[in-house]
């Protein structure tokens, strides 16, 4: 178990133009915390992880793992991976094909000369935890993808390292297996309380595993917060887009009303917002309801009129595409309403609860006075 401190981590890859993979990044990961680095590919999350592992040499910065100085670029300290108290699980599993499962899992104990672990049966314990104890004498080539992943997990955990690093370990599994291994990993962490840094681009994975999520953009952290806060109160428009708030509504103040680009008036925009003359609203498609024109706007909701383009049956509700000006939006009918009386080409009323949306300044920063967390924002 270990606390991990990253201070001013900076890493650039040469090229034209150079890629900044970690931009003066600072971060403290608590002892036993499960931190997820979330972001699209190329945002620098894997590079950050590899700097923690010692597989990449940063240009600047300091890293301490459990009180041990692992990196101080200014003073030329850069411990090689084998001298850091870590375990790592790779995307490709990287199980050595010429060793049995047992040899693979006991490798960290041998390499670190942890004879105590070998004698006390840590290999058996760990493989039992991830339910591969029956496969010890097989070779990796004889295992399924899910089994290989769990062996890789056991190898990462067996030496009881202070810090365990996960590099998109679930992305090579099919959807059902991924859910299984994910919940198994969650249980393992609540039982063993290792400090973990987990890299992924999948928000579902991040939300279910993380104590805290760090959302990365161009080598910097856009937001670092609990899963719930990141989900409900995305700090920037970038984070909102990444957390499923894919519908985007830029608005301008005209004659005392908030209007969309084509002049359509949006009613019910919260008055509490401390905004200038333009704002951007972000909302999830599943929170955007489309109803026949003339339906009254409930309290606490914002709404506007748009033209229905397409209605597709989706079970308890229908997915609706509406158009307002040149902008297309995704929404749905109310649950249980089927087609909801909508027809392509007709006008309809689009609404969303203001406290399910998030409002941003044009530069992408969250506005003070948002219905959710507005009080905190106003600090």
């Amino acid at each position: 178990m270990a606390e991990v401190r990253i201070e001013g981590l900076h890493k650039e890859f040469r090229g034209k133009p150079p890629t900044v993979a970690a931009n003066n990044l600072s971060l403290t990961i608590g002892d036993g915390e499960f931190l997820v680095l979330l972001g699209p590919s190329g945002c620098g999350k894997t590079t950050t992880l590899r700097c923690l592992a010692g597989l990449e040499s940063p240009d600047r910065g300091r890293i301490t793992i459990g009180g041990t100085l692992a990196l101080d670029a200014g003073r030329g300290v850069d411990l090689p991976p084998e001298k850091r108290d870590i375990g790592m699980v790779f995307q490709s599993y990287a199980l050595w094909p010429h060793m049995t499962v047992r040899r693979n899992v006991e490798y960290p104990l041998r390499a670190r000369k942890l004879t105590r672990g070998l004698q006390e049966g840590w290999v058996e314990d760990t493989t039992k935890l991830v339910e591969v104890d029956g496969l010890l004498d097989r070779y990796p080539g004889q295992l399924s993808g899910g089994q290989q992943q769990r062996v890789a997990l056991a190898r990462g955990l067996v030496a009881r390292p202070g810090l365990v690093l996960f590099d998109e370990p679930l992305s090579n599994l099919d959807a059902r297996l991924r859910d299984q291994v994910r919940s198994q990993l969650h249980q393992l962490h609540s039982r063993l309380h290792f400090t973990a840094v987990f890299v992924t681009h999948d928000q579902t994975e991040a939300l279910s595993l993380a104590d805290r999520i760090a959302i990365m953009n161009k080598g910097a952290i856009e937001q670092l917060d609990t899963a719930q806060r990141v989900f409900e109160e995305p700090a920037t428009e970038y984070v909102a887009g990444f957390m499923g708030m894919t519908e985007r509504l830029p608005m301008e103040r005209r004659d005392g009303h908030w209007c969309l680009e084509d002049g359509t008036v949006v009613q019910g925009v919260p008055e509490s917002l401390r905004a200038g003359s333009s704002i951007v609203a972000r909302v999830r498609p599943q929170d955007t309801y489309v109803e026949p024109q003339g339906t009254a706007l409930p309290g606490g909701s914002a709404g506007f009129v748009a033209e229905v383009e397409d209605v597709a049956f989706a079970g308890r509700f229908s997915d609706v595409v509406v158009r307002v000006g040149a902008r297309r939006l995704q929404g749905r009918t109310l649950p249980g309403s089927g087609q909801g009386g909508l027809e392509p080409g007709r006008a309809a009323c689009v609404r969303f609860a203001a406290d399910r949306a998030a409002f941003y300044a044009p530069d992408g920063q969250r506005l003070a006075g948002n219905p959710v967390g507005g009080a905190r924002d106003g600090r």
């Binding site: 592992a53 010692g54 870590i86 990287a94 050595w96 010429h98 030496a159």
Partner: protein
């Protein structure tokens, strides 16, 4: 504590740099010393070597012959190599083993196949010529119709040998062509021939340019065929001219050194050009490849074509060796009743020949062992030595040089560099070993480097985050995973070295021979049946190496060169 860390790190870094610098310096001595010595001698006394070499009228005929040989054999090699590679994609699953046949000219000793060809197509007693003279329109001939001792046939035979290299390059190029590109052309209405000329060939252009360049380089440095076939007719090329300058009275080492310069310059251009075009090797690391589906339906014609080519260019010379090795003397009409194993008895009874065979095998094995170690270190530094950019680049160029510089130049260079004090190794077996190691540097590096790149970085990184340092990682992970690559590389180098002739013939001494040179001596004395027997034994030793390579390195082992 941090200060301690700092100091340890700095000294560790410096130690590693010094060790690496020493290693690169050693490689530099191995490869560059002979080249420096050779140029030093050529330029000595106001460039007397150059004056002697290029002041003769005959040199221009020699240069013309050299260019004709290189260009002609490259064209032959490009045509046949491409055709064979194209055919090889159309083999039915049952006939996939035919794919290995076009590679065989690489592994059959050049002295064996060239002498085999001579026994087939020598104007008077050549077996095929004798058969052809039975045809009604040639029945009045007493010689011919073919004359192996001519530039035309030297070009053709060299071209057949080089076609194997083009075949390897084009085959791997074809594998990288997405078969859907070809299928798209077929479904757009193109015929099989249309697809080949309109889609496949244009896509192969980079490979053909590269393969053609390699063939041209090898054609320029070609030694065995012109030496064995051209000498009596006075057909000389630069390589044989160099050889004669070191052997015939008056011996003129300076002239020999100068004659090689055009070859040396062309080789350097090729090596540097390739380095510039490829850039950083580490960029080519992949994490597994996509599967390739062969295009088109299996074709019986393709199988027949590959097999026919094999019979004509590869099997026929071996058969002629077989017939002659069993005959008491070389005549146009071998007498089956007089056949015996006497020639082999002579071979195994002659201490010089037995000594040469033993010498070949032991020096080759020793050189392979040394080359494997060097190649491993070079590959590791190439992939991981980002901290030493200058040393790494130097090393990279040094180990690539022996591929571009013809073996005959190394032969002369080593002769000059190691026949004076303080490096007096001439006449010792160690000189042969050192030359062999030098010649193998590009092969051992390329094969191990590509093996390591195929492994990817994940296995090694996984081991390091598990707490193993580089040494442990290499011992426990890299080496075991590279076992087949190493085995294949060792066997292939053994093959190449046991039939090495060009450099050997320059540095051998009468008491210190290898198989190829002792064969050459018997060729010069007219002991043709014994030549055939030695050639077959060489081929047999080679075959053992090839089989080992396939067992250790897998069926594709031969295509890794």
């Amino acid at each position: 504590m941090a200060a301690d860390l700092l100091r340890n790190k700095a000294t560790g870094f410096a130690m590693k740099r010094i060790a690496l610098a020493g290693f690169v310096a050693l490689l530099g001595v191995l490869v560059l010393l002979p080249l420096v010595r050779i140029q030093g001698l050529a330029f000595a006394n106001g460039g007397q070597g150059y004056l002697d070499a290029f002041g003769r009228a005959a040199i221009w005929t020699t240069i013309r012959n050299t260019v004709a040989l290189a260009v002609g054999s490259t064209i032959v090699a490009l045509v046949f190599g491409t055709l064979l590679a194209w055919w090889a994609t159309q083999l039915s699953p049952r006939l996939q083993w035919l794919r290995v046949l076009p590679v065989l000219p690489i592994v059959i000793p050049a002295v064996a196949s060239v002498s085999g060809w001579a026994f087939l197509l020598s104007p008077r007693p050549g077996y095929i010529n004798a058969l052809l003279r039975n045809l009604p329109w040639w029945s009045d001939l007493r010689f011919g119709p073919a004359d192996i001792y001519s530039l035309f046939w030297i070009v053709a035979i060299t071209g057949f040998a080089l076609s194997a290299f083009v075949y390897l390059f084009v085959s791997s190029g074809l594998k990288n062509i997405n078969s859907e590109l070809l299928e798209a052309a077929r479904t757009s209405g193109a015929s099989a021939f249309g697809v080949f000329f309109q889609i496949t060939l244009p896509l192969l252009r980079p490979v053909l340019v590269y393969g053609g360049g390699v063939a041209l380089l090898l054609g320029l440095g070609q030694f065995t065929a012109p030496l064995l076939l051209g000498t009596n007719q006075g057909i000389t090329v630069l390589t044989t001219d160099m050889y004669f300058a070191t052997q015939n009275e008056p011996v003129n080492h300076a002239a020999a050194a100068a004659i090689g310069s055009p070859l040396l310059i062309f080789g350097l251009i090729m090596v540097f050009g390739q380095k510039i075009m490829l850039g950083d090797q580490a960029r080519y690391i992949t994490h597994g490849g996509r599967a390739f589906r062969p295009a088109g339906k299996p074709s019986g014609l393709a199988a027949a074509g590959i097999f026919t080519y094999f019979v004509v260019t590869t099997l026929a010379p071996l058969v002629s060796l077989g017939i002659l090795s069993l005959s008491p003397f070389w005549s146009a009409n071998p007498k089956w009743s007089a056949m015996s194993l006497d020639n082999f008895r002579v071979v195994f009874g002659e201490s010089v020949i037995v000594g040469a065979i033993w010498n070949s095998v032991t020096t080759s094995l020793l050189a392979v062992a040394i080359a494997l170690v060097i190649g491993f270190i070079v590959s590791v530094v190439t992939l991981r030595g980002r901290r030493y950019p200058v040393l790494r680049m130097l090393m990279d160029v040094i180990v690539a040089l022996p591929l571009g510089v013809p073996a005959v130049i190394f032969g002369v260079g080593f002769l000059l560099a190691y026949s004076t004090q303080p490096l007096m190794l001439y006449g010792s077996r160690w000189l042969i070993v050192i030359v062999y190691v030098t010649l193998m540097l590009p092969f051992t590096t390329r094969m191990q480097l590509s093996g390591m790149m195929q492994l990817g970085t994940a296995y090694i990184e996984a081991s390091r985050v598990c707490g193993a340092n580089y040494l442990k990682t290499d011992l426990w992970v890299t080496l075991p995973l590279m076992r087949s690559t190493l085995g294949g590389a060792a066997a292939l180098m053994f093959v190449l070295l046991t039939h090495e002739f060009t450099a050997s013939v320059l540095i051998r001494t009468p008491r210190n021979q290898v198989m190829g040179t002792v064969l050459f001596d018997y060729w010069g004395n007219g002991g043709y049946p014994v030549v055939a027997a030695i050639a077959l034994i060489m081929t047999g030793v080679t075959a053992i190496g090839v089989i080992m390579a396939m067992l250790l390195g897998g069926r594709d082992a031969l295509s890794r060169m």
